[in-house]
Symmetry: C2
Subunit: 202 residues, 2 copies
DNA sequence: TGTACATCAGTGAACGCGCGTTCACTGATGTAC
DNA sequence: TGTACATCAGTGAACGCGCGTTCACTGATGTAC
């Protein structure tokens, strides 16, 4: 907004917060989480190394912001996938597919959401940064699948475990590459694995 | 061996390599992978900060050694689990249980084996550090489960994905704690999730 | 058994590095009147 | 529309830090004769 008429970089960035998040995700993607530094993010955003502190209390806060972004996106796409399916079982499958697809499209977010150990800041209290939203969705789906009155928890966990494992193995490059080269291939693989548990493996 | 008669610490450690591996695993367990430093490992082993370089080329080599240790252990316990089961399907289940149990007992190893991005050193060539051993085991089991001549790969991946996902979620504290407090609870949960895929979810 | 010597596993000083974070500052923005 | 001023988002110097790694060294070990 109002990028100023001159080509010379304006004093104010305009949307530094977003730019930093984006730079951080790219940096982690290209190098690694260990290689992430606030200073490098600032460099990539074209800003002095202390500018980030206007937007994030510290390095951890940046990572937390990325994770939160991921929780929001995951819940949204899970919700959408469920809405598009008809039968209860199909909803569960759709959720699984959407879950793996999210990991495929946002590998850095996925890893940060689940694998990064957030040490709760003493000051900001009981802010437990897991993702109740997406999991609640899953539990609600599970409830429609199991017998009425039965605990949906085991089913919900089962339906979480499979796509989560696939996502992780995929991000860690343990799945043969040709099986996970496109979103379509990833979806097909997810459905195949689900089908295997329902046929070969029983 | 030959710890010397005096209580004073001997010049030679005796088994520094093992001590460093152990110290590293403990350090990661207590703090985090990010907090791991060779100097702190040396400190914990009661040795000068440059002593580790007699045993590991660099920090990455230490981490690699831990991962390799994990691969060996995982393959061994998978092999044993399979040997103890009778029917092909039971062998697969036993492998899954052993897999999750390994993660439960060696969380640091598990994470290092799968989640740590090893950048292949240019000098030591094509040393691809994944774990063919344990996965080959799984493929062989899968072959006995599927129809003769059919590709066992999807089944093997399916049987990997589920316990891997459970392991990861467990290590990342996403599973309700009472379900994963003891090895027995972990085994029961694993079997429950498998059963769910075979009944409720089909 | 005793001695000479190669080998090995430690030591500790030193190097350079990039990082996280703070601080006093300054340039731009927007609002009240 | 014009001016005064509070507020905000940047700057850049400075701090201290622990780390990875190297190097010349030294103490212990074990083997050949």
């Amino acid at each position: 907004v109002a990028r100023s008429k001159k080509a010379a970089r304006p004093y104010h960035h305009g949307d530094l917060r977003s730019a930093l998040l984006k730079a951080a995700v790219e940096l982690i993607d290209q190098r690694s989480l260990a290689a992430l530094s606030l200073r490098e993010c600032a460099r990539r955003a074209g800003v002095s190394h202390s500018a980030p502190y206007r937007h994030f209390a510290d390095k951890e806060a940046l990572l937390l912001a990325i994770a939160r972004q991921g929780y929001t996106w995951l819940e949204a796409s899970g919700r959408e996938a469920i809405a598009c399916a008809d039968a209860p079982l199909e909803k569960l499958d759709a959720y699984c597919v959407a879950y793996v697809r999210f990991a495929f499209e946002h590998p850095v977010h996925h890893r940060l959401m689940f694998t990064h150990p957030y040490e709760p800041h003493e000051d900001d209290a009981a802010e437990d940064d897991t993702d109740p939203g997406a999991f609640d969705l899953l539990v609600r789906c599970a409830r429609d699948v199991v017998a009425p009155g039965e605990d949906p928890m085991p089913t919900a966990l089962a339906a979480w475990t499979l796509p989560h494992g696939l996502s992780m193995l995929m991000l860690d490059r343990r799945i043969p590459e040709h099986l996970v080269q496109t979103p379509q291939a990833v979806e097909a693989l997810t459905r195949t694995l689900i089908a295997r548990w329902r046929s070969d493996l029983s």
